[in-house]
């Protein structure tokens, strides 16, 4: 196990470097001159422009700039934006919002998705099962952008149950965007659970359990569910990594100041350092949670051994 984890950790290094370099290379070609934009109406003096270009290494070739960036990164320095604010501060300010949103989304996804999936899987081909099948197909088909607007319009404006933007009402303001963000994964969790439960109900060990005369409840909760949940738990784990990086639309529509909206604003404002910093962080989350899940798989399912 230890060797497997070490091997996987080593393999993540080129991926992390490659992804951050990819974004870095694209951002390096960002249009316009951010230094001139900084001056606004009053043009900066040539000396100041030269000094700023020097400080941000804007005149050096791409690989040299990236090398400078990496040197800083290993010392915990993600650089500063063009106004001189450290990128790390921006991340510290915005990350908690995204983490809260992700927690709410994962709770929705796990609770609703699991309950719907288990009930549908136990009573296959029942009315409820078909309802889950049709509604998950519907939910998956609705673009998150559309879902966000419909939720805002229906629950925010018409019914007035939830605030439609901002974070002023604490955790309560995260409920609606959290549900919207979770919708796709929720549908997937429901389907995954349904298939998994239905398959395991036909397994030999379940028949054995029934033959021993165990109650229906014990057979389902103790024997079927425990095994059926392995793929679901691992999916949810990996999804945390995706959700942490994929909330650009949700955060923008609901006006939540998290890393998703921050990276979108920074792309528009040509804040290269912020974009590269946040995207690298997102990629790190993605890789990290996928690694955790692979290890978790071996812990949950003793049939899987990596060594």
């Amino acid at each position: 196990m230890g060797r497997y984890v070490a091997r996987r950790l080593l393999l993540t290094i080129p991926v992390l470097l490659g992804a951050s370099f990819l974004i870095f290379a694209m951002v390096y070609a960002l249009p316009g001159d951010p230094i001139r934009a900084l001056g606004g109406d009053r043009p900066l003096s040539p000396a100041v422009v030269a000094e700023l270009r020097e400080r941000f290494h804007l005149d050096e070739p791409l690989w040299a700039q990236y090398w400078e960036y990496l040197k800083g990164l290993f010392q915990g320095d993600l650089g500063t934006d063009f106004r001189g604010r450290p990128v790390l501060d921006t991340i510290e300010r915005t990350l908690p919002v995204t983490i809260r949103l992700t927690i709410v989304a994962v709770v929705f996804e796990a609770v609703i998705g699991l309950i719907a999936g288990v009930l549908a899987g136990i009573r296959r081909n029942s009315f409820f099962d078909n309802l889950v099948l049709v509604s998950t197909t519907l939910i998956v088909s609705i673009p998150i952008l559309v879902l966000a607007f419909v939720a805002q319009l229906l629950f925010g404006l018409k019914l007035g149950w939830f605030p439609i933007a901002g974070t002023r009402e604490g955790w309560y303001s995260y409920l609606l965007p959290g549900l919207v963000l979770a919708s796709g994964s929720l549908a997937y969790v429901a389907r995954l659970t349904r298939t998994s439960v239905a398959e395991n109900l036909r397994a030999d060990y379940v028949r054995t359990a029934r033959a021993k005369g165990l109650s229906n409840r014990t057979v389902i909760v103790r024997h079927t569910l425990r095994n059926s949940l392995i793929p679901v738990v691992t999916f949810i784990g990996a999804d945390i990594g995706t959700l942490l990086g994929g909330a650009i639309v949700t955060e923008s529509v609901f006006n939540l100041p998290g890393i998703g909206r921050e990276v979108f604003d920074s792309v528009r404002a040509q804040e290269g350092a912020v974009v590269v910093g946040i995207v690298t962080l997102m990629v790190f989350f993605f890789i990290f949670f996928n690694l955790v899940v692979d290890v978790l798989y071996a812990v949950l399912d003793p049939r899987i051994r990596y060594d």
Binding site: P14, M26, V27, P31, L138, P143, V146, I248
Partner: protein, 323 residues
Amino acid sequence: MTDQQQMDLRRDEVEAGTTTGLAAPSVDVTEARQNSLWSDAWGELKRNPLFWIGAVLCLLFVLMAIVPQLFAGGADPRACDLADSKALPSAQHWFGFDQQGCDYLANVVYGARNSLIIGVAAVLVVLVLGIIVGAIAGYFGGVTDGVLSRLTDIFYALPLILGALVLLRVGPSTNLPIISDRGPGAVALALALFGWMTAMRLVRSQVIAVKSSDYVAAARAMGASNGRILVRHILPNAVAPVLVYTTITIGVLIAAEATLTYLGVGLQRPAISWGLQIEAGQESIRTAPHLVLFPSLVLTLTVMAFILMGDALRDALDPRQRA
């Protein structure tokens, strides 16, 4: 011997290249065998109502993209009168009017073309990239596979919308062909560049699964080149899963295009696009919610059409689901 047994026996004979004389020689099963997966799948599909809903919707939107005049009720999307600004839906104008007083039904209908063109073009590039990289990685293995798989991991770790967002924002200032012109081609290419990884993994795993089979060894023994073995003997096995993936992905990419356009980096005015309509309608969501609702509805139905068909295809092509 029943007919079925005769058929089975003949089938075995054809496979083994021998004759027992017991099977009816008149029964030719080679043709039927060739088509069995697809004809069985079609039999399944025909009985699936969800497939028909998807197919009819899909046909409707393809028609809408080709001849929008048929659906626009005679209205011109660019003939506008400010006096009608944000007028609500009525009997003559089912979808009402937009901010500029243009007939909204006509605008929404004309939006289908860009969405479908981008969805289909992007998926074609995804397939080309995915099949080439996946086939090479899977077939040659070793270091080639290691390098190509890490490259795929790198792209896979970047969210689709985020990667395309940065590329499209940067695009106009570069001198790359297609990417720099802000048109449907640029959006399709950006989506494909950050969306080919699943296709690659799908093809790679299929290639690995069949490359050690006997018939591939036989082809190699007869002197077939690597290229011929890949194209004639290995890749055809990947057609079924790739077809399912393609159908669903068209829907996903259409949704992604609308999102990028909504975020301001996709299609630009005066192009007619659902993403632009949703973005413009957002301002008046309180007073004229129909401006957001209609393009959203049509966008959702389009995405759903492809996902329903893909889901049905997957069920039909998966023999394990059959009784």
